[in-house]
């Protein structure tokens, strides 16, 4: 997990978001409430049960952002058949709980990733594949791909390889399930807690920010 430095420097903000990328008219269309942190159930047994349920019904958002996502297809079809672990692919962010970032992320895609991620319902998790989201990978010196994904959205699990094979993906997803069951997957909460820091990073590189600050 990224050690977030400089998050304290950003002054405490109001509970209302500026939505400053939008036109006056569009502002009315989008909520300006800040995201809320997820609070676990006060009774541990219930929370554990919820986590168990979450871990066994991971729905992946069908947004292959880079080349690694080509290995999702063998994973989802009959050879590796990930359905038996409760994993399925969904076409829209609202139905999904796992966002698989398939490799490199170009700046243009990052904008869509942020929108999609924010639209996902909690509990939500991010799995990053390959070298590129970890430290730039093959395209570390490209002007159009970012180097570290966790500067922009929180990542819960990295699966290494270029590209990681379906078996590695399977392993990674099972690790993610273990983490979820243990209740230690707190990426979404990190995003909320350091919301301003993430936003500042995102806005630094996305040139035409014509979307709401939080896409809920």
């Amino acid at each position: 997990m990224l050690k977030i430095t400089g998050a304290d420097d950003i002054p405490e903000q109001e509970d209302v978001l500026a939505n400053d990328g939008l036109s006056e008219e569009d502002r009315k269309l989008f909520s300006n409430a800040r995201p809320k942190k997820y609070e676990p159930y006060p009774i541990k047994a219930i929370e554990d049960f919820a986590n168990w349920a979450r871990a066994n019904s991971l729905w992946i958002l069908g947004f292959g952002t880079g080349c690694c996502s080509i290995e999702l297809r063998p994973l989802m079809t009959s050879r590796f058949d990930i359905s038996r672990f409760g994993v399925a692919g969904r076409p829209t962010p609202r139905q999904s709980s796992v966002f698989v970032i398939g490799g490199y992320v170009s700046v243009k895609t990052l904008k869509r990733i942020i929108r999609s991620y924010e639209q996902m319902q909690g509990p939500k998790f991010v799995v990053a594949l390959g070298s590129c989201p970890a430290n730039g990978g093959m395209y570390f010196d490209s002007y159009n791909t970012i180097n570290r994904l966790d500067l922009y959205i929180p990542v819960d699990m990295y699966i290494n390889g270029c590209m990681p094979r379906p078996e590695a993906l399977l392993h990674g997803i099972m690790e993610l399930q273990n983490d979820i069951k243990a209740g230690s997957c707190d990426g979404a909460n990190r995003y909320v807690e350091n919301f301003d820091w993430y936003k500042a990073n995102q806005k630094k590189i996305i040139k035409n920010w014509n979307m709401p600050d939080y896409n809920w």
Partner: protein, 183 residues
Amino acid sequence: MGNLTSALLERLERDFDITDITERHERLTTFKVTRDHAETLIRELRDREKYTHLNFITCIDYIEDGVFSLVYMLQNYVTHTMLGVHVDIDRDKAEMTSIHTLWAQAWTYQRELREMYGINFPGSPRLHEDFMLEGWDDMPPMRRDFDTAAYSTEHFGHVDRESEEPRQYMKVQFYPNRGGDEE
């Protein structure tokens, strides 16, 4: 070079002042033509010489000569030969006649060239829309003087890692008293 092509090239040399004719391999010949003659020449090749397929349009940045060399690659499906038409345009005033009326996909290439090299093609459709980049505000990135690594470091920040050069590291290890490179 097939007889067919050499006869054609002779004619083009006469009519269009083409220069720098080079046979690259048995199916590919390239030559250079001036900007003014380019469109007519390409149209003639398409309509009269059966160079009906436009493989691509691209550009080479000869920054040291101050020119962009545009390349139009044309394919003849009868003789299975290709002609590479080079057109040098001024780098500072990068503008070229559009050929979007000759091939339906030509404007796509021209959009790319506008975005990647900053070459203007007056009249080409949707030329000023973003193509691959979004909200790009720096120098057109495919120009030779654009440093992609520096841009990446500046915007996407590398993780700090340190590496030693064996040459320097060993010197210090083996001859600690002899820094000795001061002259």
